[in-house]
Symmetry: C2
Subunit: 695 residues, 2 copies
């Protein structure tokens, strides 16, 4: 088809105008699309979305498209509050007419055509796609276009020609360390569909749990899961649910390390003597499978055979990360085997193991994917490397002819800002200088939600909204990388995601209510004022600063568990300070807003302390509340100095910085995120940077 | 058993100390219990609730109690965030030991023993009850006792001896005018359990829909429901779900009026010629069953027979309200029948019909309940009257030997405040002077959620939290009637109810987000500031002031649909003004808070208007926003006058009152609820009531 010629190239828009919200004018309202499409051409006017709205499927149809249509209409009804008819039209006519050319693969493949063209005019809308995958993406784009307008709900007139930059756009959820029930998984798949992610990587086995029913070896889940596992029927249902949303499900069974839970029921697989118990702590542990034991190979042959029948995807993740080798070192039989077979070290032993497992996976008709460590000499070229180590590792693999995906930089549990994740590009660093052919081997990336410090209650809030920024990185053209534009759209999309049932925003209020108990409305407001500008410590600091070692039985009901990983209020305060200082402090409106905010912080502690006396969980942040008051006072002092128009000098600066010193340090595993911005104000006041041109 | 002798009397506490939060001292924290128990004796110290918490059932047990125990543990885990074991202990030992004496009736009866005794000491807790009904109530009380403390989660040491004042404490939900799906019904049953209501009255047929599958007459639901009905299997599941929570399910099939939807499939039942279509409008309509047609009697015999097998409760509600008689007047055959049988008017004809239906219900082993109109001469004494007319009607029925329940004053759709519902007592008015024997016939009451202006999305927010105040009226001793105490506890209980899955608080933010579209955070905050102090118009004013007649297809996505029916912020502002004026305006803290609030209102309109330009749904409240600004300005002017210490006089007062005149009137079907409080400030300033003693 002629219309599609121009969208064939991967990630290279050859026609149309790239239109980013940050570039729009007042006449041209920004489109709140995330991920931003490859090509957007804005038209004039808008299509009214009224109670009579209908959608019709033409061309190729299948039951999955019918269901997608019903889901689309239900979501549109939620977004608008209009009493829409919730079934697609059977007449071929509708406000939105969809045309799909042909089926996609029964088992979704990497790199299938996901492109679509969406034309919205003032009279109607038309969506065209080669396959249902593109159709489903286009429906999500249409949903994002619909917004309230001066005359009713409407979608702006626009032509969108869109396709993904990368074919592998994944989210990994670890439901092994903390079990995550299916309803929570399902609503996260709904979120993935909304932002066009297409791989759900399910981390299913760990030291802390084996989460899949095995009919062949039932002791795996019976003794290795604390009765928290998915039945095979449930998994089949989940895989169907994902396929309905254009999402592949890649299971991971982590081997030969990260496998203590297997050994509870099957100690014969291990390299140590046992007995083994489900691990309750976090970290890297000694137990590992015995690569030299033929019975292990036979067992894995059976199990992989069983699991490849439960999970239809062509890829099968074998983990392979972080083996410390202690059990191997301590086992004379293994040492003898290594000597006999000239296996010179543990790395080589792991390579030997990986090679054998890879053969089993191949035998059962699947392709191996594994973490960096599985890439050892002689491994066949068809495996896929998932890099937790970074672009250098990824580029090296690509050069050697291996395909890979990036996860380094996309670990959601590290608490990075959306902007920081957003800046990570699979094609940057060493990958940037790859040949075009090698670049083709970089299939995309996956965000990872490791579950030491998340549970079913707060996992949504650890994934979203930041995951939407990663989804955009993997879908949109590489040039789409303006953080202010991203944040503006993320705020909108985040609200929309809650309509799908995700709880990333609402759960924070619930959890704060729990720890506030019978707080008065004023006390609760004070707690929220504090909670709005604190973030959990980043990277692995939480584990490193714990007063008592956390285990899987540690309650997650503290402030650090309740607040979002990224503070919107803190970011906005920082932007406001930047704006104020950039205007040489001649911005009365910004100054007034800063004063209101700083005064609130200064006075907040007095409101909060009575509650801290009554709740041990609020007590924990009593110190942070005092620190916030200090920030408020210091910021106001800086504004006073600036208002006088005279630089305050170094000794004043030293004194003020000392007063916020405590605020800048982590406490109760929490960061006061507005401290650096207050420091900027102090420095501006001290240096007179703002006062020189003061009228 | 000796312990129970003192709790036998209905509603008359004979032992123990009535302890209301309003009476507590600083040393004695108020208990956030709702409904307040009949007897509370506070102890010293508290019982720690930790991860090791367990519950054991002793004495009589049954699967329902096991499930209640699991539900209890799950809810306790939610409330505390502790990783509790979620199964009751099998050893008979536990932190909370429950003893139940014997089973309750298989089909729950009116007036079964629902009492319980709950003893909490610093070491353990003990719950005793005659039947599972009392046990389940006691578990809910324990859940309400648990709160965060300086040292962890805990329940205060206390002895509670509790039983209900009335045996019939119901909530009616109309799922006929707007269909309410089962998941929404279920979470409302969870809410009922939490506040100890024990009757779910299910209004299932109306002009706008017949909502139950009939196997005998399938055209009823096939043609009368727009495919929105409950299957018999679903109903059986719901009845079991309710029984698990100590709740009876009383079905209502409204006859002979309110029945247009029946006639779509069965026009032969009607008194008019037809054809009939499902009614889309609201109001009282002409169609009515033909009481003179033997085929109607036969049909109802079949249908009532079928439905009494689906609904096990001993009571069967036949409606019977609001027949306008026009179809009867216009039907010569009916007129001839009346003449032949000396039926002198339509009221008598309806009595004739009710009498026949009552016989059918009796034949099928059930007792009739109906609205006031079913009480006509000669009706057997065992029927129950549900009074929408009021206490006089109820008292009259009681004197005649009929049992009754009160619903007048408990119509949740009228938008009354919790305090106003709370003041309505089934035993007040004419009922207060009844003999003790007649009083026994007043079984309790039911709140009613009529569904013209609610849908599945916002129905929770129309029922809760106000329904909890009605639940307390029907459970707690009559002397429990202090609104400040009620509101303090209601606020706490309302937050807890959201843990059960009810959405009465969160939905308002969601719906405001919808109508704000891509608002900036500042604009959205401005919308919330306005939304916080507006309430939908009361009683039947919404229907009377609609610009276009509402139908069942009218979208419910307006501000009037999104804001709660009672404004907490408005109530608190009013209390603050009262406190300020009562202190002769010598309350600097209150004055400061009033100034902050009034300034916010004055300046809010400028923030909101840009959004109103972009959203037709916000535009609708643009006028209310200006009115709020006027209130802010006028209130600040009044505070300025008061600060000067000179009465401002009548002409100033007239001028200021004129400036808030628009604010006092309904607009966009919304009331600006803080207007009367601002008027108080103006009057205080004008009269110098506050200035005479000013220092």
């Amino acid at each position: 088809m002629a219309q599609k010629a121009w969208i064939r190239g991967l990630g290279i828009p050859v026609l149309g105008v790239l239109l980013y919200p940050a570039m729009t004018t007042a006449q041209q309202p920004a489109l709140n699309l995330m991920p931003l499409p490859a090509n957007v051409q804005s038209g004039t006017g808008s299509l009214a979305v009224e109670s009579s709205f209908s959608v019709a499927f033409t061309g190729y149809t299948e039951p999955r498209l019918e269901r997608a249509g019903e889901r689309f209409l239900k979501q549109l009804a939620r977004q608008t509050g209009l009493p829409l008819a919730l079934k697609p039209s059977k007449t071929g006519k509708g406000t939105l007419v969809v045309q799909t050319d042909h089926a996609s693969k029964e088992i979704q493949e990497v790199g299938e055509d996901e492109s679509y063209i969406l034309d919205v005019s003032t009279a109607s809308a038309r969506l065209r796609a080669s396959t249902p995958l593109g159709t489903m993406h286009g429906l999500q784009t249409f949903l994002q276009l619909v917004d309230v307008s001066p005359t009713g709900f409407a979608a702006p007139a626009v032509t969108i020609q869109d396709q993904p930059r990368f074919p592998w756009r994944g989210l990994m959820i670890d439901s092994a360390r903390h079990f995550i029930p299916l309803d929570v998984i399902r609503r996260n798949l709904d979120g993935m569909e909304a932002v066009k992610m297409n791989v759900f990587h399910w981390h299913l086995s760990e030291n802390q749990g084996f989460r899949v029913e095995s009919k062949k070896y039932p002791k795996l889940h019976e003794l290795g899961s604390d009765a928290m596992y998915y039945t095979q029927d449930e998994i089949r249902g989940l895989v169907a649910y994902a396929r309905d949303r254009g999402i592949r499900v890649v299971p991971e069974f982590d081997m030969p390390g990260h496998s203590t839970a297997w050994f509870v029921g099957h100690p014969e697989l291990a390299s140590g003597k046992g007995p083994y118990a489900i691990e309750r702590k976090w970290g890297i542990f000694d137990p590992a499978m015995d690569p030299t034991n033929e019975k292990v190979n036979k067992f894995l042959d059976d199990l992989i055979g069983e699991m490849t029948r439960v999970f239809p995807d062509h890829y099968f993740h074998i983990g392979g990360d972080e083996v410390n080798g202690k059990e191997w070192d301590a086992n004379p039989k293994i040492q003898a085997f290594m000597k006999a077979h000239a296996i010179k070290n543990n790395e080589a032993l792991q390579a030997y193991f990986s090679g054998r497992v890879q053969k089993l996976v191949t035998k059962h008709g699947k392709t191996v994917i594994g973490w960096d460590e599985v890439l050892v000499e002689g491994v066949p070229k068809d495996i896929v490397i998932q890099s937790w180590r970074g672009q250098a590792s990824l580029a090296k693999a690509a050069k050697q002819g291996y395909r890979g995906i990036l996860s380094n930089g996309y670990y959601l549990d590290l608490g990075w800002s959306a902007a920081r994740h957003y800046a990570v590009d699979p094609m940057s660093g060493d990958a940037a200088s790859l040949s075009p052919q090698d670049k083709q081997r970089i299939l995309g990336g996956e965000s990872c939600m490791w579950a030491e410090y998340v549970n079913p209650e707060n996992v949504d809030s650890r994934i979203w909204p930041r995951n939407a920024a990663i989804a955009e990185r993997l879908w949109s053209p590489q040039e789409v990388r303006d953080p202010p534009s991203m944040y503006a759209r993320l705020d909108f999309v985040s609200a929309r995601l809650e309509w799908l049932g995700l709880t990333h925003r609402s759960v924070s209020r619930h959890m704060l209510q729990r720890l506030a108990g019978s707080a008065s409305p004023a006390e609760f407001a004070a707690l929220r004022t504090l909670a709005d500008v604190i973030e959990p410590v980043k990277d692995y600091t939480r584990a490193q600063t714990a007063l008592a070692e956390a285990t899987s039985a540690t309650p997650m009901n503290r402030v650090v568990d309740a607040v979002p990983l990224e503070s919107d209020a803190g970011r906005r305060f920082g932007e406001l300070v930047d704006q104020f200082v950039a205007a040489s402090c001649h911005d009365p409106a910004a100054e007034a807003r800063l004063r209101v905010q700083l005064t609130t912080w200064r006075d907040n502690d007095a409101l909060l302390q009575p509650l801290a006396q009554r709740s041990f969980l609020v007590q924990e942040v009593g110190g942070r509340s005092q620190d916030l008051a200090a920030l408020g006072s210091a910021g106001l002092a800086a504004l006073d100095v600036i208002a006088k128009g005279q630089p305050a000098g170094d000794s004043w600066k030293a004194q003020q910085l000392a007063s916020i010193d405590a605020a800048k340090k982590p406490k109760a595993q929490l960061l006061l995120i507005s401290a650096p911005a207050v420091q900027k104000l102090i420095e501006a006041a001290a240096a007179g940077a703002c006062s020189s041109a003061k009228p």
